[in-house]
Subunit: 198 residues, 2 copies
DNA sequence: GGGCCTATGATTACACCGTAAACATGGAGT
DNA sequence: ACTCCATGTTTACGGTGTAATCATAGGCCC
């Protein structure tokens, strides 16, 4: 065991990866995380309804695996955006990328941040989300005094996360909900605003 | 018809209100909007499983009605908080109240902002959410130049919404997730932070 | 006051979902 | 070559949302 059986055989061979891929595909088709189900994922992977249970103890485990991939993609998107600019421009670029990511994949984004009520988050999921946050956090740390870095990073995260959440929930307008570029542009504008004058 | 039959009679008499109240109760017991179902609400209202369909065309309609109540409560909370302070202190108080509201009723909060994918939002829901936003928006308008008021208000909203979302999803820590006072205190601290120095 | 009308609630039925248990298959290691 | 067991299948059960049909009783009209 361990090597890959032929594609047409009784045993799928890469079911776990196929199920995660199917989950990602489902989430890309409607923005509703509740559309991602064990049976539907199994259907898309061309396998019986119960097969997923050989690879995931329950539905939440599949969801967590998909969310983990989501955080890895988010981290990659943030790193790519950060590399383009310099100083606080890089921070703004990260914010825009964060919002664009959410807008482009609202279902995945909602899944990533939807707290499974009683569920303990798997280790891999925590690591992936922490890695994504580190990209933003370290950029902020390079821009502010060390003693306020943590709070400034949290504040920046909250701001872009709020913009992203409101955008995909249609609270800012149809353009910000459906067009990642428009949402990113809006995010950049809001990020450049100074705090209210005192 | 139109008057209220006795409580023990065949006809409930206030089923619509009872179902909404049941929905609110369900949401207060776990933070998971998916726990709010038509059948469970009917059960709590002491009525058959199909009875809700006489008052709501489908599940989304009940959800929207509950969410509308949520926005009314949020508006009341923001107004109460605003009344206490003055100037930008009132704005900070509103932000703290916003986050405390989400933390105290995460299920309701998630329902309010969860975009039903293809669903058109009922008029009442739009009005209620707009009314809540107006409380914050008008406070911001009283603090900044008119030409930037809209964007400043949106920025403030996004910031507190982001803090609230991250808090209830457990991304900031257990205290911020479960203790409304701790979450509100954190929100106030973040709101008082200046933008990053340039 | 008596009788129908209709708003409201109850029943039944169906498809879908997550999950558990029992069964089948076939590649891997001996 | 033979067995083992990881993996996939089948069947079954309770839960959900929804549609269709039936039952009740309060209000209105005569």
């Amino acid at each position: 065991m361990g090597s890959k059986p032929g594609k047409g055989s009784y045993h799928h061979g890469e079911l776990r990866e196929s199920l995660i891929a199917a989950g990602l595909a489902i989430l890309e088709e409607g923005g509703d995380p509740s559309a991602l189900g064990l049976r539907e994922a199994a259907r898309r992977a061309g396998v019986s309804a119960m097969a997923p249970y050989r690879h995931f103890p329950d539905k939440d485990a599949l969801l967590a695996a998909v969310a983990t991939v989501g955080f890895e993609r988010l981290r990659a998107a943030l790193e790519a955006a950060d590399g383009g600019g310099e100083g606080r421009e890089a921070l703004y670029a990260q914010g825009a990328a964060y919002v664009a990511f959410a807008c482009a994949q609202p279902g995945l984004f909602r899944l990533m941040f939807g707290a499974r009520s009683g569920g303990v988050r798997p280790e891999a999921l925590c690591l992936a989300s922490a890695a994504a946050y580190a990209v933003l956090s370290e950029r902020v740390a390079a821009l502010v005094p060390a003693e306020s870095a943590a709070e400034e990073a949290l504040r920046s995260w909250a701001l872009v996360h709020g913009i992203a959440s409101l955008a995909i929930d249609g609270m800012i307008g149809e353009a910000a909900r459906t067009d990642p570029q428009a949402a990113a542009a809006l995010a950049e504008r809001l990020l450049r605003l100074e705090t209210l004058p005192r």
